[in-house]
């Protein structure tokens, strides 16, 4: 089967630093892949965990990177239970934006060990295809962000004051570097300007 063809009922992960760019890319992929087979997008904070957290946030009690990753994993568990698995079981496409690599990137950027992160996300099935959005370290630093734009934005604002993790912009840069490296390793690929013309039968 040609590499660009994906069978129906598949999970496509979209990873990246910028929450807004992730949403836009996810929409584009959804319009393309879900047109015939059906399906939808599973986005960050589907369980509203982070939204609720932002309402009651006390700056003195901000969660650490590890706590943030545990919460991300909890939200992902919710997404798998209520969005991803039901859609896949009906043979639909699911665009998970973001999925695991963004969280892994953030975790490592914040100083968490890779083996811990890998084991934490063990419960999540592998995506059939992982894309990363087109973003560079230079342009990402210039974009004005809001805390609920995405996980990296939220996490960056929570831990950004901590000199160990670096500033928010340091974290963003490291997240993008991680994803660039994953692309070089063949774990993910940049979303092509022209998506595959044919959908699988």
């Amino acid at each position: 089967m040609p590499a660009d063809l994906l069978p129906a009922g598949q999970l496509i992960a979209v990873e990246g630093c910028s929450g807004r760019a992730l949403q836009e890319s996810a929409e584009r992929l959804k319009n393309h892949f879900c047109r015939k087979a059906g399906g939808g997008i599973s986005a960050w904070d589907a369980s509203s965990l982070f939204y609720e957290l932002s309402l009651g946030a006390d700056p003195l009690q901000a969660p650490s990177p590890r706590t943030l990753l545990l919460l991300y994993a909890a939200d992902l568990s919710f997404r798998l239970q209520w969005q991803i698995r039901p859609a896949l079981s009906e043979g639909q496409f699911v665009i998970a934006a973001p999925y695991i690599e963004t969280a892994m990137a953030f975790g490592q950027a914040a100083g968490l060990p890779a083996p811990w992160l890998k084991s934490l996300f063990r419960f999540a099935p592998a995506a059939a295809r992982t894309y990363r959005i087109r973003e560079s370290r230079d342009t990402a630093a210039k974009i004005k962000i809001k805390v609920m734009d995405g996980f990296v934005e939220f996490g960056g604002l929570m831990v950004g004051k901590n000199s160990c993790s670096g500033t928010r912009k340091d974290l963003q840069q490291k997240v993008i570097s991680y994803l660039v490296e994953k692309e070089a390793q063949g774990v993910c690929r940049k979303i092509p300007s022209r998506l595959p013309a044919r959908l699988p039968a």
Partner: protein, 266 residues
């Protein structure tokens, strides 16, 4: 192996720098003790915890208490989801792990570092028992709760499932997750609890064997249990942080560099 080489090997194996290990070793004599109370609901551990706390305070120990699922940041999130009955075991487990991690970093470790005794009503062993009873794999749970902060002393209140059920539900019905109805799928909460608590008890007994808790016979009178706890506390030996907890403590210190900063001269 010579002393310096041993220290280097230790630092390499935990990812903790030698300088950080040295800081942790120097704090050993000043830091407080972490004492945890574990057991089934209705085992009497909360009663004993309160008596123990009052006794320690009367003896001049500065004491801080912490309870399961009590982080002001995470507790409301868990409460809302429990009310909706929407939690799968995995999500439930991860939220409890986030709660414990947050309390560890904001309450427990700051208190221990300052030389206070911390009494915890439940620790991560509760997750191993309850989430294990819900089918979560032990190695995944251990990783999720890593880096683990090992207590100096774990009191385990050994009680039968029947006693637990009788004491807990003499006047009320168990709640949905308390009864394990999310996994037993039984309509009657008491029947569900009876099934679920047997599983939890089996997990606790296995953990007791692995981790060698200090067992307290919870079938004895309140007075006898309290006397026994006082004696066990006096005999308690510390678990040196540099051997047991360097990863958890160094992780916390890295995220809280102000702890090591010297106060500025006025």
């Amino acid at each position: 192996m010579k002393g310096k080489e041993k220290k280097k090997k230790k630092a390499r194996s935990t990812g903790c720098s030698e300088a950080m290990l040295e800081v942790i070793r120097r704090q050993e004599a000043r830091r407080g003790l972490l004492i945890t109370f574990e057991g089934l609901d209705g085992s009497g551990k909360s009663t004993q915890r309160k008596l123990f706390r009052e006794w320690l305070k009367a003896a001049g120990y500065p004491v801080v208490s912490t309870k399961w699922n009590s982080s002001p940041l995470i507790k409301p999130l868990i409460k809302a989801r429990k009310a909706a009955h929407s939690l799968r075991p995995e999500e439930f487990s991860l939220l409890h792990a986030a709660d414990l991690r947050h309390r560890m970093e904001t309450v427990v470790l700051p208190a221990l570092w300052a030389g206070k005794t911390v009494i915890a009503d439940r620790w991560f062993f509760t997750a191993l028992a309850r989430d294990g009873a819900r089918g979560m794999p032990l190695n995944w749970l251990l990783n999720t709760y890593s880096p683990i902060l090992w207590p100096d002393l774990v009191f385990y209140f050994s009680v039968s499932a029947e006693t637990s059920t009788k004491r807990m539900f003499a006047t009320r019905s168990p709640k949905f997750y308390e009864a394990g109805q999310d996994i037993t799928n039984l309509e009657d909460p008491i029947t569900s609890y009876t099934h679920f608590i047997q599983r939890v008890l089996r997990e606790y007994e296995a953990l007791n064997t692995i981790f060698q808790f200090v067992s307290v016979n919870a079938e004895k009178t309140i007075y006898e249990q309290h006397q026994s706890i006082r004696l066990l506390f006096r005999q308690c030996q510390r678990r040196p942080w540099a051997e047991w907890n360097e990863e958890a403590v160094s992780d916390w210190l890295r995220n809280n560099p102000h702890v090591l900063e010297k106060p500025r001269a006025r």
